[in-house]
């Protein structure tokens, strides 16, 4: 059935193409939405509108599954086979820009004025990518849980401190009502670990890499602050507060909704599902302040133009078209993420004033800190992820962090400092 609809669609598209003005330059585009119908449909709609609204450019999109998207791009870059418009994950963009996969995006400053800072990808002083949304993370819980455990409800201005958070975990565990007190999401291996957990590290005053020079991780990832973070992180698992690395992915998806976990550290993309699951006192709490301020991650998927594209102006035109508020709102409604402008937020279901997800907008505004903006992030993220997993499994904290630092430093050195 899918084949006939595709064929029919192709016929319609080709006839409409024929009937249009002759000089439409084709721009190829890759997107990471294969297998995700909602995103694909919205994007296809944007592309159709763009192609119909002007006669200079015609965009065709190729869909990829998110899991292997980055690998696909790298393999294609090796062959010199990149499309014109590329989808790129925020923290990965510096690596692709440095590797000369991407060229600066010639988009006007007006078009991106008023957009959330984290949605603009900059490297070497130039704009390389722009995103239609941002993602944020919060502590999911129920008001009834807080009441039952006798805990204060933290606010943006007064989040929980380290002691309060530990006390909350202990109370949840002692109550015996939950399988685990806290679900950080260890089942989601991959970029989730650095995205979700490096803010904790940063809140302890550590970091993945020293951002003043980006030449080393020594002191940032294995300094005293990082050691304190490591000990606390290991404590989550040795004290039985959180399920470890062998957490069932199904539990990650449904555990909080089913009541297995008191608190769940999750992104706003899961907010929709949680709201629709029938929990009527769902709360999104801000991250605890472990000493250096509350922090959450930022920057999600963004559009950019590849270096082999001969029409960066066309790519910029498409991105500008896609940045219209109505599309930002559509994406937000579809996948639950934060639209990058306040106007679009007001138009969306979740983020309009009084909307159920509105709190994420403020969270993102006030607490978001992008991951380290360096081409070395790709390797550093993998090393950090492994270090977190090892510490969670009981490895010695100091040695593990030292090893991580050594690996990141060696990698930076082997790459000549990554162009900083």
């Amino acid at each position: 059935m899918k084949l006939t609809t595709t064929l029919a669609g192709a016929l319609v598209a080709s006839t409409s193409l024929v009937s249009m003005a002759a000089a439409q330059t084709e721009l190829t585009m890759w997107y990471h939405g294969a297998g995700n119908e909602v995103e694909s449909n919205i994007l296809n709609g944007i592309i159709e509108d763009f192609n119909a609204a002007q006669s200079d450019w015609s965009v065709t999109v190729e869909s990829f599954p998110q899991g292997s998207y980055n690998d696909s791009v790298v393999a294609s870059a090796l062959a010199g086979n990149l499309p014109c418009i590329l989808d790129v994950d925020g923290p990965v963009m510096p690596n692709w820009a440095w590797a000369e996969y991407m060229q600066p995006l010639p988009i006007s400053e007006d078009a991106i004025a008023g957009h959330l800072d984290a949605t603009i990808g900059r490297w070497d002083g130039q704009v390389y990518s722009v995103g239609l949304w941002d993602a944020a993370v919060a502590m999911y819980t129920r008001q009834s849980t807080l009441d039952a455990l006798g805990l204060r409800t933290p606010t943006l201005e007064e989040p929980w401190s380290l002691e309060e958070f530990n006390a909350a975990l202990e109370a949840a565990k002692a109550s015996g009502d939950f399988e685990y007190a806290f679900d950080p999401g260890m089942a989601w291996t991959g970029e989730w670990y650095p995205y979700a957990f490096s803010p904790f590290l940063q809140s302890f005053a550590g970091d993945i890499v020293d951002r003043s020079t980006y030449q080393t991780a020594d002191g940032a990832l294995n300094g005293d602050a990082a050691l304190k973070f490591g000990e606390w992180w290991q404590g989550l698992f040795t004290n039985g507060y959180a399920p470890g690395t062998s957490q069932d992915p199904a539990d990650r998806d449904n555990g909080f909704i089913d009541g297995k976990y008191a608190f769940s550290w999750n992104g706003n993309w899961a907010g929709k599902m949680a709201l629709e699951s029938g929990i009527d006192d769902l709360l999104f709490l801000p991250a605890p302040d472990f000493g250096n301020g509350s922090t959450i991650g930022a920057a999600s998927w963004q559009f950019g133009v590849s270096s082999s594209c001969e029409h960066p102006a066309g790519a910029a035109a498409f991105v500008e078209h896609a940045l219209q508020d109505k599309y930002l709102a559509a994406f937000s409604d579809g996948i639950g993420l934060i639209p990058s402008t306040a106007e679009a937020a007001a138009m969306s279901e979740g983020y309009a004033p009084g909307g159920p997800l509105e709190v994420f907008f403020e969270l993102s505004n006030q607490q978001a800190l992008v991951r380290p903006v360096t081409p070395g992030y790709v390797v550093a993220a993998k090393v950090f992820e492994k270090a977190l997993a090892d510490i969670a499994n009981g490895a010695d904290v100091a040695d593990t962090l030292d090893a991580a630092v050594d690996e990141i430093d060696a990698d930076i050195e082997r790459n000549g400092g990554y162009g900083h």
Binding site: D71, V74, A77, L78, N95, W96, W98, A99, E100, Y101, T189, G244, T245, S246, D248, V378, V379, K382, V383, A389, D390, N393, G394, A395, A398, D399, D402, A403, D406, A410, D411, R414, N415, G416, G419
Partner: protein, 355 residues
Amino acid sequence: MASKLTTSNRAGWAFALPGFGLLAMFIVVPFFFAFFLSLTNQRLISPNPTEFVGLENYRNLLSIGVLTVEPERDNAGEIVRDADGNPEYPRVRTFTRNNPDYPQFDRMREWFRWHSGDNAKVVLAKDVVFWKSLRNTLMFVLVVAPVQAALALGLALLINQRLRGINIYRAVYFMPVVVSIVVVSLLWRFLYAEEGLLNSILQTLSFGAFEGRDWLGDENTALGAIKAMSIWQAVGFHMVIWLSGLQTISPTLYEASSIEGASKLQTFRYVTWPGLRNTAVLILIVITMQCFALFAQIDVMTNGGPLDSTTTVVFQAVERGYGKQDISGGSTISVILFLIVLTISFIQRYLTREK
């Protein structure tokens, strides 16, 4: 038997060249390419030009050293002991980081240690994860090869009886071989889960005495779990090969031994086993090759964890070359793997040569 009828350079080369050419292009050339890459600092993505670095990759990968660590002593010169009465030792990182006295151990990590007297002898390595992957791979081969071969032989003996419908059983035992290892790994992930089927079955069989374990999440059991699954998937294949070997043994030999009143065990030892020698050699070699290539199961089920207990050499090669974009590092591991496999196959050929 060279004669004018069979000697034909032109035809010989003409027939062999297409096949050999393809093989050379797609296996031999990349292989030498890998050798070459291991001597450079080639990255997967980089605007920097590639440089020749000689054996530095090998040094980074293989450097190990042994450090003797004396226990801590208090002011009176007495050994400081902890609550269990064991001597306390200074942390290894004080020797390996920013310590000008031990430059050769700079940035190394502890792999394992043993005690001689009161001192601890610590084996340090620059790349502990690689050595662990090597150890895991060798452990895998040493356990799986004989166990799988033996189980396959047992199944072959079982199948080699004249019962009605024995072919159905033979077909069923072979079925897992047909299924992709990726599919098998996904299914077994469910079975090994803490609330999964394996634990339920074991609990029922032991009447509740057995406590469910997290097979893949425990560093002590993860590799064993993968071994069991790999054996399950591949044993049918080797069963069939044993079967064919069994069936070449002349039935007259069996008749003779039963006339002489030999027991089952004696029959096996003196009639069956000698006839299976060739088969045994083939099976052992094939299983060993397959074991060294262990990758897909790890990638799907454990990603090398927990705590590097399931990482293998091939997994490390792919992760470094592709995941961490360090092609030269990945190639270095590949070359080392090849040398190991080469050595082992030479040893195997030597041990099993016709005497």
